[in-house]
């Protein structure tokens, strides 16, 4: 019996392909950037891009990255996006980030196979301690 439906695997794969495609512009700027660029933001997105490549072949093994995506985007939404949006004072890129980051916790919540997460990351016994 398969633990996760084929449809679900494809939903995760489509999300991974979209991430590879969507992050490509950031990845390109890793190669071409100003000498004074801090680079941390671009390197982090480059790392996510690489993980998304793995997720196309191994969607279930890369579920931790999907969870991570949902968590950090939710953190951003509540610590930065929503307070800035409601106060009217925000980063110059707030508008694009509200869509590009703030809308994605919901997308991640739809993509993540929650039954699988529950069985493998909550109910499953942890790795041995001795």
């Amino acid at each position: 019996m398969n633990e996760v439906s084929l449809v679900r695997l494809y939903v995760i794969r489509v999300a991974a392909v979209l991430a590879v495609w969507g992050l490509w512009d950031s990845v390109r700027t890793i190669i071409e950037h100003s000498p004074f660029d801090r680079g941390v933001h671009k390197a982090l997105l480059g790392g996510l891009w690489l993980m998304a490549l793995f997720a196309i072949r191994y969607p279930l093994k890369m579920v931790p990255i999907l969870l991570f995506e949902m968590v950090w985007k939710t953190i951003w939404l509540f610590a930065f996006g929503l307070p800035q949006w409601s106060s009217g004072v925000g980063s110059p890129r707030l508008g694009e980030d509200l869509w590009g980051i703030g809308a994605f916790p919901i997308v991640c919540a739809i993509v993540i196979p929650w039954g699988y997460v529950w069985r493998h990351y909550v109910k499953a016994p942890g790795e041995r301690w001795r």
């Binding site: 890793i30 000498p35 933001h41 671009k42 690489l50 968590v71 950090w72």
Partner: protein, 142 residues
């Protein structure tokens, strides 16, 4: 000897207990040492801060808490940690160090990221990674 032989079959042949603890130590360091540095920025920041970097790093720290319980299953987090630090080091840090043209944040970024670049290859269980993330058949396509 008999007790060791008897307990051997129940042990996971894939990763030694030592390796599991090395991974746990790194999850712990990321979650709590790095966490104590980055999480305060979520609450204490300029009104116009973009916030992507503190949110990303805080998310990583939070997820690493789960790595203490499931070090093997959360390996993608360690791979991500290694990947972004290597990308930064070779695309930004090292060229900027060599050229002397550096952003004002360089001194803050260089040491913590370089430590990661040095440590992470010794933490990742490469044999396990090779078997499970390269050689293993991918999830089914049909």
């Amino acid at each position: 000897m008999a007790s060791i032989a008897a307990s051997a079959p129940t042990a996971d042949p894939e990763l030694s207990l030592f390796r599991v603890y090395v991974m746990r130590a790194i999850y712990f360091l990321i979650a709590f040492a790095e966490g104590s540095q980055v999480v305060p920025a979520l609450f204490n920041h300029e009104a116009t801060a973009r916030g992507v970097i503190p949110a990303l790093l805080s998310g990583l720290c939070l997820m690493c808490v789960l790595g203490l319980r499931y070090p093997k299953q959360m390996l993608p987090l360690l791979l991500f940690e290694m990947a972004w630090k290597y990308i930064w080091f070779f695309a930004f840090g090292l060229p900027q160090y060599l050229s002397g043209q550096q952003p004002p944040t360089f001194a803050d970024d260089f040491m913590p990221i370089t430590v990661g670049v040095v440590i992470m290859p010794f933490v990742i269980p490469w044999g396990y990674f090779w078997r499970n993330y390269v050689k293993a058949a991918g999830d089914r396509w049909r």
